[in-house]
Symmetry: C2
Subunit: 381 residues, 2 copies
């Protein structure tokens, strides 16, 4: 085992109370692990949409400014006053960022569980992953199968567990098929593979014609393009064919959630036996789990009275199912990390490169097929 440095770089996000976002790299001590802890050399950590809220603090990135040096860049941007109000709880605190990562255990505490991990490639989750060395409890490490690289294992938690959580939620709430939006994303492709494997009918909604092809190519049966003139008809057909009455929506803003409920109601009413003044008595649900469109959500209530729209998050889902059920899902992810749960990245960057304005301009769009991976130790270890 190579010796490791006593300090490492860490990406930080600071929102000052006067309304300025400041992104920078700071040098932090690599701590001595406690008996039950290990030090993971973070080799790969993705930039997920769910990281960007904390990273950017709703700042206006179109006017971001760069300063500092290439090795120690600083980015500043203005946080609009309305957004600043929502950030009261984090003002003037320099916050580490990054939900999940994979890397190699380079130092271990004295406990047998920690020692057993030395040299292993592990996947971890818990925040502060945009860093060179991350101290974490041994029990929180998921050992990746032999031959798995950190880059292959880095997106092991947020997308895979969310996709598995959607299918589990669908079952728990009594639905037999589901709808997913922004469906050509890494997460969406995982969901296509899970549903094919588990025999769950899935209706995919995408926003570009080329994304229809992406999903058809991996075996998706139903892919509807929301920008096509025939969208509502095609969606209704797919819903009637699958019986899907629950949707997971990554978009959030605009009319899509309401369109899905309207099409569900139309699909159900095709087989209605008699007039019901409150619409069908089948509960229709849309969970908004992302915010690709931060604008207002708007819907016209033309889908009866048996409906719901609400937020969905991975954390409360995992709390609800409990540690053991969640552990089974984690183990499934590990065993299928190169197939069902494989991720692809547009670009791999160092911590310093992640703070270049031209890179931020690309990955902050959160466009499908433009996902970044941070490699905090590339060229350094």
């Amino acid at each position: 085992m190579a010796s490791i440095p006593s300090t490492g770089l860490q990406l930080r996000s600071l929102v000052k109370k006067e309304g300025t976002l400041e992104l920078s790299l700071v040098t932090v001590d690599v701590p001595e692990p406690k008996p039950e802890e290990v030090i993971v050399r973070v080799d790969a950590s993705p930039i997920n949409p769910s990281d960007q809220g904390l990273l950017f603090g709703s700042a206006d990135l179109t006017k971001a400014k760069a300063s500092g040096t290439a090795a120690s860049p600083v980015v500043t941007a203005t946080v609009p006053p309305a957004a600043l109000k929502m950030l009261a709880g984090r003002l003037d605190q320099s916050m580490p960022v990054g939900n999940e990562a994979a890397g190699v255990v380079v130092r271990a505490g004295t406990s047998p569980a920690a020692q057993a991990l030395l040299g292993k490639t592990v996947a971890i989750v818990g925040g502060g992953m945009y860093t060179q060395y991350r101290c974490i409890k041994a029990v929180q490490c998921l050992v990746l199968p032999p031959g798995t690289t950190p880059a292959e294992g880095a997106s092991w938690f947020v997308n895979p567990m969310t996709a598995l959580g959607m299918v589990a939620t669908m079952r728990a709430e009594g639905h037999k098929a589901l709808v997913h939006t922004a469906a050509a994303s890494n997460l969406g492709q995982m969901l296509v593979k899970i549903c094919l494997k588990d025999g769950v009918p899935l209706v995919n909604i995408v926003r570009k014609a080329e994304h229809v092809t992406v999903l058809k190519d991996i075996g998706a049966a139903y892919v509807c393009n929301s920008t096509a003139p025939s969208f509502m008809d095609e969606l209704t057909e797919a819903l009637a064919a699958t019986g899907a009455t629950i949707a997971f929506d990554a978009v959030g803003g605009g009319k899509l959630a309401g369109q899905i409920l309207t099409a569900m109601e139309a699909a159900i009413n095709r087989t209605a036996k008699e007039y019901s003044r409150y619409g069908s008595t089948t509960h229709k649900q849309v969970y908004i789990y992302g915010g690709l469109d931060r604008g207002p959500t708007e819907f016209t209530r033309t889908f009866g009275q048996y409906w719901g729209i609400g937020g969905w998050l991975l954390t409360p889902f995992l709390q609800k199912i409990g540690f053991e059920a969640a552990q089974k899902l984690r183990e499934r992810v590990a065993s299928e990390i190169k197939t069902t749960f494989a991720s692809t990245y547009t670009k791999k960057v160092t911590l310093a490169e992640a703070l270049k304005l031209e890179e931020i301009a690309v990955y902050s769009r959160q466009a499908t097929g433009e996902k970044y991976l941070i490699e905090p130790n590339r060229g350094l270890s």
Copy 2:
């Protein structure tokens, strides 16, 4: 017991497939009751918002036309094509209307249960109440306390059971206080009285300054006027004071549902200990149970990820709690019909008067304090 006629008048709503609504009075036979049935002379039946969907079939009432005679009026209006699509299940069927009523049992089947009701003033529910004589099972009749008039007992089900259902839903879903909109309505006033009696904190939202006074006068502690410039501040104060995290909204359209969620989140965050990037972890819920504003519902998601908006209906609530629990609620309504569950009416009309264009113009607005009561047998029995 006076002899009863062999036929009676009944109000009917017909939507023809070419898109015309036709309201009329038809003469129907008064049936011979089966052993377990009774004939109720309907003396009073309210026109609730929940009756008007079936009654008017989304027709454009601003251009309604009157024909027929004063005793046998006919009203016609055009149903817009978009609305017509939603009515496929009822086209070309002449439909009786009216959810609930009260009256006197004037004929009874041979069973002891039916015979025991002869001459009693009873409250009934089940549709087709805008009629002079309604045949119904004895077991479905709720005997009103002695001294209760049919007019006092007519609105015994829809509003009282909905108000009780809201409080029960609040408890069942783990909330400790609730919010109600269009709160100066008959239903809203019942809810104020229930909450005072049961010690449940209630935040009332109204749309007119005079409605604040109406509710304060009957003891409401928190009344916010959504048209006041200080609305959001006042609402947030009331939510912080009560801890209300569930709302029942009769309006549906516009921004109100989202404003309530935003104010709930602001109230919760006043006591937040640390920054949470997904907002507070307290689930906030708005149930839309009415549609006073039929326009689009619009909200900006500035209230974290722990939220839901959905439809709420009395019928599935009653199915969920079961017959015995529902029966207890019905009995409470009967015993408090002149106090907690008292209703007031702007005007009392006959069946024929209910089809006058000038009356329709008033009651179809569904404005607070403009509720009508139909008296199908006034001046006739």
